[in-house]
Amino acid sequence: MLMSVGSLAAMGLALGSVLGVASRYLSVEADPIEAELLAMLPGSQCGQCGYVGCGQAAAALAKGEAPVTLCPPGGKATVEALAAKLGVKVDLSQVVDSGPQIAEVTEEICVGCCRCIKVCPTDAIIGAAKQIHNVIREACTGCSSCIDVCPTEALAMMPIPVTLQHWTWPKPASAQH
């Protein structure tokens, strides 16, 4: 018993130090542009852009391999920010922006399968086997990963309602001309 625990600990230590050394020698200089681009992305690592996560998406953007319109959850605001940073022009009317959305569970048809919990990058869904699940509004980033895995279509994306606290004055109409 002691032996096996000890050997596991020793293994952990040895592998850990190998990783530590490797990270020091093999580290890549972080690209400052890439870091700035990363800060503009939503950070939910949902993979809808076709990359593993926002970090890889930012790297591709920095190299000019990906269009600034790559991130669906980011919406128009992200496209604008990215375009301004990279100095590219985009036709914003082509960007579909459904506005900020978050997932919502229709309680009557949730079967409590727990599949959505596994895919949610931010642990925004609570629930247990055979119990009705629910989305914590504040933690949901609107990545919509959970929608595809739900077997009963109990999960759907809903626009975040505008509240008094979030409403802002529009730009004056006379600013258009």
């Binding site: 950070g43 939910s44 990058p121 931010t122 802002t168 006379s174």
Partner: protein, 503 residues
């Protein structure tokens, strides 16, 4: 008037809009008869919304607590009529968006029965904290329009050892006269309230600033304050925005409040005259804030003037009482310079509602905006010393950061710049738009950071669970191995013994 006084009292900012206060201000105060139904919003103040503590069907008395304060900065809400709670639902908010917010509906029984009150017998020998506590419990908030809860402000003033209380009777917004009316009709209440506030914060003097276009109010207040040398009535030149805290402090004391500091840090605290009267009622009569004086004015009103009305009364009920000459072309809560445009009149009045304006077509007319001719009028008028034209030019092309470099955050949205602009550029809307967008950007930045933390937490959790699974598996294996070994051991001695026995 000495040279210094002149220098202090003739500021080089501001505008002189036509004040339109009379004849409405001279009409005697009218008591609005109790409405059939009132809608009491839960969020009538800066800070957290109140939490309802009543149920549908419950009977309540006037002044009864129906929603509790929630959080450090908040205020409780009390019933403004006696009757039955008929709903806890939503009503259109007095807000330019026309969005709804939560409100408690009370069907009045028409009797206006007050709940038993417990006035404080001798407030000046009570501890200052007692005044603050009772003011908080009565739901008193700044009635000048800012609606910041009064009690936390008292506590702040006490902590920072404020010496001077400034009582704001400026009421510089055109058309409004509710503060004028309270000073004319109830000057003793205002003065007594001011003395109670002084006691609560430990101030040694009070300066009451009143614009000189209200001579009746000045006379009434002078008479009421005659017995109290620590309270000085100070007539001020009528200049917009004299009623703004920073401008009033500067004119009365010469103190310039730095843009990143609170007024209390410079030793002064400002409270509005109506707020002082509300403190008087809370302490001397034990009555919570459930009614207020409200000015109903504008070209579309048949009989403009001031009404004493319960909070939560629908604006349409008030209009029915004063009569409409024509359908209003524009509705405003508050004054024309800084007030809130309203989309319709099915909106209840709230604690901060100093007036409702119903403009006719001529008053509501807004000329079309032209291009900026760089005349510099806006810069001369701005009481905060900003460059409105530069800020607006940047916001127009979406350069919000550029506007921030011109101190956009110092703008108090007073509207002086837009008022004097010969090209009628809606400058204030530019600034409100930009401030809103900047706040939203700040919020989404915080959100992104929170998302990153959540993602990291989830990754850490998955890793920990994997590790724990591995460890548990290893432990089970080790236990199995140990058990096997033990079994083997147990078996061997038996074999030896048998061997021994046979030998």
């Amino acid at each position: 008037m000495g040279f210094l006084d002149r220098f202090l009292k003739t500021p080089n900012w501001g505008v002189h809009p036509e004040d339109h206060k009379r004849p409405a201000a001279d009409v005697p105060l009218r008591l609005f008869p109790s409405p059939e139904r009132i809608f009491m919003p839960l969020h009538q103040h800066v800070g957290g919304a109140a939490r309802p503590i009543v149920m549908v069907g419950q009977k309540v008395l006037k002044g009864q607590l129906i929603a509790q304060a929630q959080g450090n900065i908040s205020a409780p809400i009390h019933a403004s009529v006696s009757g039955t709670i008929s709903a806890v639902g939503e009503v259109t908010a007095p807000h330019p968006s026309g969005l709804p917010f939560k409100a408690i509906t009370i069907d009045s029984d028409g009797e206006n029965r007050w709940i038993d009150s417990e006035p404080l017998a001798d407030p000046f020998s009570a501890a200052p904290e007692e005044i603050t506590k009772r003011t908080a419990a009565a739901g008193v908030v700044g009635l000048g329009g800012a609606t910041f809860p009064a009690a936390p402000k008292f506590a702040l003033g006490k902590r920072l050892k404020v010496t001077t209380l400034i009582v704001n009777g400026g009421e510089c917004e055109p058309y409004l006269s509710s503060d004028d009316r309270i000073m004319r009709d109830y000057p003793e209440m205002v003065i007594d309230g001011a003395r109670l506030v002084m006691h609560a914060i430990g101030a040694t003097q009070a300066l009451v600033g009143i614009e000189n276009n209200k001579p009746e109010a000045i006379a009434a207040m002078r008479q009421a304050a005659a017995a109290f040398p620590e309270i000085k009535i100070c007539p001020l030149p009528a200049l917009y925005p004299m009623g703004s805290d920073r401008q009033l402090i500067k004119v009365l004391t010469g103190i310039e409040v730095p843009s990143d500091a609170r007024a209390a840090e410079t030793g002064v605290l400002v409270h509005n005259v109506s707020t002082c009267a509300a403190v008087h009622k809370a302490i001397r009569l034990g009555q919570p804030l459930v009614e207020r004086i409200i000015t109903i004015n504008g070209g579309a009103i048949a009989a403009p003037g001031n009404l004493y009305a319960p909070l939560g009364t629908m604006i349409s009920d008030l209009f029915a009482f004063v009569g409409l000459k024509e359908a209003p072309s524009r509705l405003i809560l508050g004054g024309p310079m800084m007030g809130t445009p309203l989309l319709h009149d099915r909106i209840p009045i709230v604690k901060g509602a100093s007036g409702i304006l119903a403009f006719n077509a001529a008053e509501a007319f807004v000329p079309e905006a032209g291009p900026c001719i760089r005349c510099g009028n806006c810069t001369k008028a701005c009481p905060m010393g900003l460059l409105p034209l530069e800020m607006a030019a940047r916001i127009r092309v979406g350069d919000l950061e550029g506007a921030e470099k011109f101190e956009l955050q110092d703008c108090i949205s007073c509207g002086c710049c837009a008022y004097v602009c010969p090209s009628h550029i809606p400058l204030v809307q530019y600034f409100s738009h930009a401030k809103g967008e900047l706040t939203a950007a700040e919020r989404s930045k915080l959100r992104t950071e929170a998302t990153k933390r959540l993602v990291e937490a989830k990754t850490a959790r998955i890793e920990r669970e994997e590790r724990e699974k591995l460890e548990a598996a290893a432990r089970r294996k080790a236990e199995r191995d140990a058990a096997k070994a033990a079994a083997a051991k147990a078996a061997t001695p038996v074999a030896e013994q048998t061997q021994g026995a046979s030998a």
